[in-house]
Amino acid sequence: MTAVSAPAASTAPLIKKDTVIDWLGMAPFIIFSLLFLIIPTLYLVTGAFFTPEGEFTFQNIADLFTPSIMSAYWISIKVSLASSLGGALIGFFLAWAVVLGGLPNWVRSTLLTFSGVASNFAGVPLAFAFLATLGRTGLVTIFLRGWFGFSLYGTGFNLLSFFGLTITYMYFQIPLMVLILTPALDGMKKEWREASEILGATNFQYWTMVAFPILWPSLLGTTLLLFANAFGAIATAYALTGSSLNIVPILLYAQIRGDVLHNPNLGYAIALGMIVITGVSNVLYLMLRMRAERWQK
């Protein structure tokens, strides 16, 4: 290995010189990530265990379990779970269709390109798109009323609700699932199917005993990733429902803006709760992915 910046390195008696250069090169990144990622997060995490006066306490954590905060977590979990499960299910069928469905190649490349775009089409504009489509004067709402005499809002449907938010989130959840699951399905070897067939297995037995057990770590892992993805999202929900739907990120947003809970450190506890939930989902996702990759080698 050659020292990049020091022609004198060979004559220098300092044993540690290379090590110092190594660390100097890493310094900008380490300082940046400490200052703008790790310390701010740790600041909140530790803040969750202190009173505003600086005394150690578990009261903030205990206060999370009050009905209003709990209901926010509960709605968030429900929306994230529903949109990730829905996204996973539809995404799986789409990925299956393009990988194993025997469709022409252009369908696959179009779908993957489109998924790359759609999975990044989130935030405020996504809310506008769904308002324009499924809002009270949206295209689909009017179409259903005009052509079928079917009143969507008459059924109790409301875009600014749990269900409305779920189907809006699925707009970026489905393509994300397609993007992650397509390579996993590509990894399903043709020989596994043929081996099971020649051993006498039916198509159903192949799916239940071979294909699905091989795929489930990928499926479950990706669903968890989608869950975390939805759980942290705020812009779409805020633009769609204002503050009428009380999900955790919106509660935290209100707390940051105006201390609606009248306890700044309770805000830290809410943030900690979010990190724990998204963190656990991500760690499980990574573990499941490692398992899936081990099998598909």
Binding site: L37, P40, T41, L44, N120, G123, I174
Partner: protein
Amino acid sequence: MKGSRIGAWIAVIVGASYFIIPLLGTLEFSLRMRRGVYSIDAYASVFTDPQFRATFGYSMLMALLTIVFGMLLVVPTAYWVRLRVPRMRPIVEFITLLPLVIPAIVIVFGYLRMYNSSSVLPLTGNAMGTNILLVFSYITLSLPYVYRAVDTAMRAIDVRVLTEAAESLGASWTTIMFKCIFPNVMSGVLSGAFITLAIVMGEFTMAALLNRPAFGPYLQLVGANKAYEPSALAVIAFTITWLSMGLLNLISGARRGAPAR
């Protein structure tokens, strides 16, 4: 065989309508401003709004700064990890994944508490400091995507051989970095840049909570107060995403054509 193909077509058609109908709905809605006929009034209204131009320009500038400074941070780091400190790789990769785990709203919450006007580093005390903080927050948000893109591009070239060749010709450190490494990982830098552009242009949380006049909060504001303009804005935003991601796909597609696989 036949049955599964029909099922596949059904799945694709259902999925495609899920993607396309909201886009059609938005487009149709954005053209409905004038009663009874389709018109581009909503777009005219948007484009003549000085606020639109101001916030759009501001976010573009922020995106540009994010790309430049983000690359100055990520490319040398990825290079250094490959060349000198491979043992740091797992740690660096873990850190670059963190922004996917920690929600943006939590990160910005931390900023507001750590860099408020009474802290050691009162970045939020004035507009310039807050702008800097916003750029840094965007660098953080795009870190997972940018680092991956650059590192993948770096895997395709042998940075060690390239460095040693340049050194043997007497190149200085800056020459190696900007004349050898950057141009050779250009595909990674570009795809990182486009995804950053897509993220920054639509970003809401950071800008809103740092109170900066960015495009995201402007969109939200219009959405709360106007009827047809939001759809026009959504069409514009979607076009931007399409352009960035389309270019990204073009670049990564071109790279995939290369010997990588």
